[in-house]
């Protein structure tokens, strides 16, 4: 396994970068990530800086993307907003990934009654309209950022668990797992050393496609005023603020919207590209 992984990985990277759309998408996402991470160092203005005398001003050489109604630099606000949006997207996906992988692996590996009960629980949870529950959570326990991505992540693990389970079930019948069992390797190390690393491909693809879904959900909640709360800001909040004042100040709507759409677009293309790269049989 150790020996074939680098070549498999290399091949996947080659396939991924040969698809032009995925390639540019990767560059765009890397750019956004670097900007988001280094925001405190490179932001042109302080986060809380307000130039009330200036008020809303269109893009200029001093404020590249203009300023909002309180005279805050839009570019700075978007940079700090991207940190929240991306953090919610990636952390919630991580939560979903951990729960889904553990749940699916155990169900698929143990099998039998345990599997039946565990997957039945997943089936039942699938039927619950979670958007309603998340809104309820936000209303009742306040708009807590940690709670928000915990709640979203706890919802998104279901499909992940199904994917991992089917992978593990087909893997655990293969000879190398039987050999490991015969050699007396402990179950826990079979799971962590052999099953999970081999099942990870489709999981990564699904995780890449989950990130934009979660970012969309966060933006949706923030737009309604039920997500991230001031003084924090996210792309969803910037879009809402932009929509409120778009009649006079179009740039407040256009720049956050374009950035956000491009991010969703790119993440979806990377997911599609990864699927083709990791599994040459699927897709065109």
């Amino acid at each position: 396994m150790e020996s074939n992984q680098p070549s498999l990985f290399k091949e996947a990277v080659e396939r991924l970068t040969s698809n032009k759309l995925s390639f540019y998408s990767c560059i765009y996402i890397c750019f956004i990530l670097i900007v988001a991470i280094s925001t405190p160092l490179i932001a042109p203005y302080d986060y809380a800086f307000q130039d009330l005398d200036l008020g809303p001003s269109p893009p200029s050489s001093e404020h590249l993307l203009g300023t909002d109604t309180l005279g805050r630099d839009l570019l700075t606000r978007m940079m700090y907003g991207s940190r929240i949006s991306l953090m919610v997207g990636f952390l919630a996906t991580l939560v979903a990934l951990v729960i889904g992988v553990m749940w699916g692996t155990i169900a698929g590996f143990v099998g039998g009654k345990t599997d039946a009960i565990m997957m039945r629980i997943v089936d039942v949870l699938y039927g619950i309209p979670f958007i309603i529950l998340i809104i309820l959570l936000m209303v009742i326990f306040g708009r807590n950022l940690i709670l928000l991505f915990m709640a979203i992540g706890a919802v998104e693990w279901l499909t992940m668990a199904r994917i991992v389970r089917s992978q593990v079930m087909s893997l655990s019948k293969q000879e190398f797992i039987l050999a490991a069992e015969a050699m007396g390797v402990r179950k826990i190390s079979i799971i962590f050393r052999h099953l999970i690393p081999n099942a990870i491909g489709p999981v990564i693809v699904y995780a890449t496609l989950t990130v934009p879904q979660i970012m969309l959900l966060e933006a949706f909640l923030s737009f309604l005023g039920l997500g991230v709360q001031a003084p924090l800001s996210s792309w969803g909040i910037l879009i809402r603020d932009g929509a409120v004042s778009m009649e006079e100040y179009w740039w407040l709507l256009v720049f956050p919207s374009v950035t956000f759409s491009l991010t969703l677009f790119s993440l979806n293309f990377i997911g599609d590209g990864l699927r083709d790269a990791l599994d040459p049989r699927s897709g065109p």
Partner: protein, 304 residues
């Protein structure tokens, strides 16, 4: 067929009960009582209010009373508008939300299915690439961006269409329908294309063509029936998304439907309204999932 419906109901009812219980417990564990906002409430008045809304009873008794009421279609009074019951608010808002959802679905099906069929009939040509790339765009531009952008372009810059209200000025239903329907049109297009590509390669289509049927008849009568199965299976979950989407679209366009009531109730902490409409929405979503399962199974016997 009947067996299938019974089997699905067997899953749906426990799920519904779980949702009701969960939402009930969540709303009741909310910090702060519903009357905390009113400053000048004396202890006596508070006691009266608690008595009126049955807040003194033990939790299980409140729960069973509530459940009993819900079964009869009674969601109790609204905390925010004491003169109105939650059921009343739902009956006011629902027809509007439903009308909006139906227009959006019709828009999505008409646009999506024709784009998908076009793509499948001429795969890997411009007729395929243009609609499918547009569909990808439609999926990635969420309603929170599409709605304001449409208002900005068609309402404010071009001044072609009204930008708010529902049924007040002619044409005010167009922009909300497009905003809500676009993402679904895009999904429908992708699903139709996939389904049709698979069907069009099958033998019975070749037979139909060999019989000398017109291309129109082959596509519309013979191929669409099978090619639309994925679209129909998608309609159930889409209904759930449409209801959630109505929160945003009704807020953007100022439409007095159930979605806006829900968002307002969430802001006002109108607990009975949140509880009632959450349960109502959940029931609708679960029902539509059931319906689309059954329809999909009746069209495609393999799914039974």
């Amino acid at each position: 067929m009947f067996e299938l419906i019974l089997k699905r109901l067997g899953t749906a009812i426990p799920v519904l009960l779980a949702v009701i219980t969960l939402t009930f417990l969540m709303v009741h564990s909310a910090p702060g009582g519903p009357f905390d906002a009113e400053k000048a409430v004396t202890p006596e008045v508070l006691a009266k209010l608690n008595e009126k809304y049955n807040l003194d009873a033990p939790l299980w008794e409140q729960y069973s009373d509530y459940l009993f009421g819900v079964v009869q279609g009674d969601f109790g009074p609204s905390f925010r508008y004491p003169s109105r019951s939650v059921t009343e608010l739902i009956t006011i808002g629902l027809p509007i939300t439903f009308e909006l959802a139906v227009y959006a679905i019709i828009f999505a099906l008409m646009l999506g299915v024709s784009a998908g069929v076009l793509g499948a009939l001429k795969p890997n040509t411009l007729y395929d690439y243009v609609p499918m790339t547009t569909a990808m765009l439609g999926i990635c531009v969420p309603s929170i961006i599409l709605g304001p952008s449409l208002i900005l372009i068609f309402g404010i810059w071009l001044e072609w269409l009204p930008v708010g209200g529902w049924g007040d000025i002619p044409g005010d239903k167009i922009l909300p329908t497009i905003t809500l329907g676009t993402a679904y049109a895009a999904y429908c297009a992708r699903l139709t294309r996939g389904g049709m590509l698979e069907i069009l390669n099958q033998d019975f289509i070749r037979t139909a063509r060999a019989k000398g049927l017109s291309e129109f008849r082959v596509v519309v009568v013979h191929a669409l029936r099978g090619g639309l199965t994925p679209v129909i299976a998608f309609l159930g979950p889409a209904m759930a998304g449409l209801l959630a989407g109505s929160f945003v679209v009704e807020t953007i366009f100022g439409i007095p439907g159930l979605g806006r009531f829900y968002v307002e109730a969430a802001f006002n902490r109108d607990y009975t309204m949140i509880l009632g409409s959450s349960i109502f929405f959940s029931t609708l979503i679960i029902f539509f999932n059931l319906l689309s399962d059954v329809i999909a199974a009746s069209i495609n016997p393999k799914l039974r």
